[in-house]
């Protein structure tokens, strides 16, 4: 079982890394999802793999380690929220720039177009209404 779980985690990590290295936002997001799956399964396996054992310490019986389960739960919640965020971010980026390419040059990042929100007059309430 260890071999199977380990190779599954390895395969998921490899898939995730391959996709993250792509140049468009959708594969990157899918890759990040794969990576977080792999990490969750990995964390889960860190309490040693056992089958059909209760997560309660009893003096005479074997038990499964409950802590990794709690850690995985936290990790799942965080990675779920983060995936949702980066999907929105990728979508917003695509809608605003018309391209889903993820490469970026420093000159481009530093260059603030004249119409950028930063040059709004200070304190205009309109700025708040238009930008979520």
């Amino acid at each position: 079982m260890e071999m199977l779980v380990a190779s599954a985690i390895g395969l998921m990590t490899a898939t995730g890394l391959f996709l993250i290295l792509q140049g468009r936002s959708f594969p990157v997001i899918v890759g990040l999802t794969f990576l977080s799956y792999a990490v969750n399964a990995f964390l889960f396996a860190m309490g040693r793999l056992t089958i059909n054992l209760p997560p309660i310490i009893t003096p005479d019986a074997a038990y499964t380690d409950p802590l990794p389960q709690a850690l995985v739960l936290t990790a799942i919640v965080i990675s779920f929220g983060m995936t949702a965020l980066i999907v929105v971010l990728g979508l917003r980026g695509f809608l605003e720039t018309g391209s889903d390419r993820t490469d970026l040059s420093l000159a481009e990042a530093a260059k603030e177009p004249a119409a950028a929100p930063d040059s709004d007059p200070a304190g205009t309430p309109a700025g708040e209404a238009t930008r979520a």
């Binding site: 990040l32 990490v39 990675s79 965020l85 993820t102 603030e112 200070a122």
Partner: protein, 509 residues
Amino acid sequence: MNNWIIMPAVLPAFTAAFLLLTLRHRPQAQRIVSIVATALGLLVAIGLAVEASDGVPQAYRLGDWPAPFGIVLVLDLLSATMLVLTGVLSLCVVLYAAAGWDRRGQHFHTLLQFQLLGINGAFLTGDVFNLFVFFEVMLIASYGLMLHGGGPARLKAGFHYVAINLIASALFLIGVGLIYAVTGTLNMADLAMKVPEVAPADQGLLKAGALLLFLVFATKAALVPLHWWLPATYAATSAPAAAMFMIMTKVGAYAILRVYGLVFGAEAGALALVAAPFVLPAAVVTLLLGTVGVVGSRSLRGLSAFAIVASMGTLLIALGLFDETGVSAALYYIVHSSLAGAALFLLAGLVLEGRGAVGDRLLPAPAMRGEILVGGLFLLCAVAMVGLPPLSGFLGKVMILEAVRSSAGWPWIWALILGASLALTLGFVRAGAVLFWASGPPGVGPRRRLAPLPITAIVLLLALTGAWTGAAGPAMDWMDATARQSLDRAGYVEAVLGPTNTRSAGLGE
């Protein structure tokens, strides 16, 4: 048990919820509440620093669960110092933002308070997994802050920033998982006890976990070759957010010191100082690359971001020594570089606003309003960042130079730090000359009047940098004590797990 220890985390958490739920559509009230809460946070931090100044670390057990099983927060000189620094920085940022920046998007103050929750929590926690959680809280809020105001360039850089941090989080979890698999604990004090006793067969696994964690902290601290995200992110975000992010790189440096000075410190047996061989060489290259970036930047914000990379290199050179003088010098420099870096970013925001279409690009443009004042402040910021007297960067660098003399290659490091300072000076001189001397006559049309609050915030930060020089004697004593305590494994373990003789009885229950 001192209940105030949890206040730096609870106060911003409740403030953020309050701002979000009740003051959502009342920006003016939001500002006032946010400023008051941040000032209160600073007062609490100062109170805790006074509390910690007796030199004995204090543990706060959440829910009063006994230490290795429950989560602990630990207040010692190091965390108290970082809390005060966070308080000062956040107060200046809130003041700056209250002049109008906070209205460029929604929920600026809410996000800032959530970020304070994450940062303060990360400084206080005594548990590695809890550190991950607080890192995530800090990062989630920082994603929102980074994108505050929107715009295509910011969105693109934001996507990178989020993706890189998600990968770092995945590495963090793998590292934590490996450490837990080998030692069976994630409490830092308990880890510090168990790491030296790990069986030789498991040491490789533990070392892999420790080094993966180091990669994560190095990413946060922008250590070469993991620094690429920083210039793009900081140059693309808004000025208050960038100034607040100043403390986030320091969280990385703090985590390196905490985990590799304490858990994998000098007394960790086979894994003693496992990260030390990597910190110093990487820090040297970081300084070099940051300096090259400053000289080659095409915008003031890009230049500031690379100046931050260079300053992280400088401070990690000292931190990488993992001895008392090195850590003490690094801590002095951390305070300095946070204050000076924040001032520089806030100033870059003013320049960006004041120069209209040219923005902060290093090109001649019609003179901006209040050019003499802004130019003067830029001069002071540059003096602080480069490390010339009379501001505290000079003393910080002197201390670091003094500290590296214990390292074998010190003549090379001296040459590099001093050469880098010269190149940094050139970079800043070039920027200042183009921005403020080469400016043409004032253009026609209305120009933005300089608001008083942002100027106050910048002046406050620079005054504190000056005061940090004036108070260098007491500050050095404080930092020496902090460094000594942060490398003292026995004291930390005793504070968290209790005295040695009662410990075995407590664990046997």
